[in-house]
Symmetry: C2
Subunit: 234 residues, 2 copies
C-alpha cells in the first residue's frame, strides 16, 4: 500500500516528525536546508546514455544544482548507476525510468508535456535558441542524447525548443556531462534570479522529506508499517 496517497498533509507532518526521531538532528537539519532549494521547474531527461559514468556525473550535478527530478529513457541501453561517480546523489533524486514501451521516448516526453514542461532538445549542430536566451519562467525539461548518435528522431520531433550552447572551438561538441552541467547551471542561476517561485510546494516538500527520511532509516518498510498502525490505525 502507498501511504502517501492516503494520508493528508497533517498526518504526513506527524509521520515525518516520528521518522525524524530516528535520524540525527544534523541530518534532519540538512534535509530541511536542501529541500528549501529543490525545484521541479527544471528537470533533466537522459535518452539512451551509453556511458553510465556520464549519466552518473549528470545525477551528481543535478543534486548539486537543486534539481529534484531526472527522467531516464532506456530504449536500447540498460542504464546502470556508477556508484563511484554519482557519490550517492541518486538516493536524493526522483528518478523516473522509461523502459517498458516500444517507444519510451515519446512516452516520457508526452508525460512531461502533460505536466506543463516545454521540451528542450540540445542539438550541437542546430542553431536555434542560445542557452542564454531560454525563457526560465517556463517549466523546462532539457533532453540530452547519447554520445554516439545524439537525440533520437522521436525526441527531436517532440521538442518544443532547440537549444545550443555557444561554441567557438575546433571541437564540435561538449562531453554530455559537461553539456548538462553548463546548461542546468545557467538555467538554474537565472531561475533563482528571476524572482519566479521555483521552490517545491509545501505538499511536495513534505513528500520529499518523508522519502529522504525513509531512505535514512534501516528497514524503513517495517518502521512505516508500525507507525501507520500506531499513529493512524492503518
Amino acid at each position: 500500500m502507498n501511504f502517501e496517497d492516503i494520508l493528508d498533509y497533517r498526518q504526513k507532518q506527524r509521520y515525518y516528525s516520528e521518522l525524524c526521531t530516528m535520524i540525527s538532528p544534523e541530518r534532519v537539519a540538512l534535509f530541511e536546508k536542501v529541500v528549501e532549494e529543490r525545484t521541479d521547474m527544471q528537470c533533466v531527461v537522459l535518452e539512451n546514455i551509453y556511458q553510465s559514468q556520464n549519466a552518473s556525473a549528470v545525477l551528481r550535478t543535478c543534486d548539486c544544482l537543486g534539481l529534484q527530478q531526472v527522467h531516464i529513457i532506456e530504449n536500447d541501453n540498460l542504464y546502470r548507476i556508477n556508484p563511484d561517480v554519482a557519490l550517492g546523489s541518486s538516493r536524493w533524486l526522483d528518478l523516473h525510468r522509461y523502459n517498458r514501451k516500444a517507444d519510451n521516448t515519446s512516452d516520457c516526453l508526452a508525460s512531461l508535456k502533460a505536466k506543463g514542461y516545454m521540451i528542450v532538445a540540445t542539438l550541437p549542430h542546430e542553431k536555434n535558441v542560445f542557452l542564454n536566451d531560454l525563457d526560465v519562467t517556463r517549466k523546462l525539461a532539457v533532453v540530452f542524447g547519447n554520445e554516439l548518435n545524439g537525440l533520437s528522431e522521436a525526441a527531436i520531433e517532440a521538442a518544443d525548443i532547440y537549444m545550443k550552447i555557444p561554441m567557438y572551438g575546433f571541437t564540435e561538441s561538449f562531453n554530455i556531462s559537461v553539456s548538462a552541467a553548463i546548461t542546468m547551471q545557467n538555467l538554474g542561476t537565472r531561475l533563482r534570479e528571476s524572482g519566479a517561485d521555483y521552490r517545491l510546494s509545501p505538499q511536495r516538500k513534505l513528500d520529499t522529506l518523508i522519502k529522504w527520511a525513509k531512505r535514512s532509516i534501516k528497514r524503513s518498510d517495517l518502521v512505516e508499517k508500525e507507525l501507520m498502525k500506531r499513529l493512524f490505525d492503518l
Copy 2:
C-alpha cells in the same frame, strides 16, 4: 632555431601565406574563424589532476569555449592526455607544463601573476566570491585542484581570490571537469558580453595561426627550414 623570435610581423604574414597553400581552404577558413574568438584573458590551471580523463575533458571544454592557454602543474602525477576524451583538442591549445622544479605550483602561479593574471582558487568548502560575482574585466587564471585533496597549500597561498560555485545539494562538490566547464562557460559568456577587448592581439593571432598551420602539415620542420631559406634566406 625558433624562427618566431626572429621574423617580424610582415615576414610572418608571408610565411603564413606560404603555409596556407599547403592546407585545404576549408581548414584555413576554420583557423581564421576560430582564432577570432580565442582569448588569453582567461586561462585554466590544472594542479596534479590524477584522472587523465578529467584533464582531457577540461582541454576539450577549453577549446570549445575559445580559451587558448592551459597550464598543467605536475608535482607528483605524470599527466597523460587521453586521446578518446580530448578528441584532438589539445593540438589547438597552448599547453604549458610545469614539472621540473621542486615546487611547480609556485613556479606556475608566479609566472602567471607576472603576466598580470589574478589567481582564482576554486575551493568547494570556502565561502568567498561566488562565480557570478567574479570581475571578468581582469585577467583571470582559474586553478582547479585534484580529485582527492583539492588544491595544494602553495596554490591556496598564492591565490588572489577564492571562488565558489553556488551548490544546493547533498553532494558537496562537482566533478572537476564539470566544475571547470561551469566556471569557464560563465566567465567566458560574461567576458564576451562585457565589451572588454578579449581577443588575441594581431601578433598573437598570427603566431597562433602559424602554429596551427604547422600542425596541419606533415614534416612541418622540413617545410619550415625550406621556407625560411627561400623566403628570407635564413
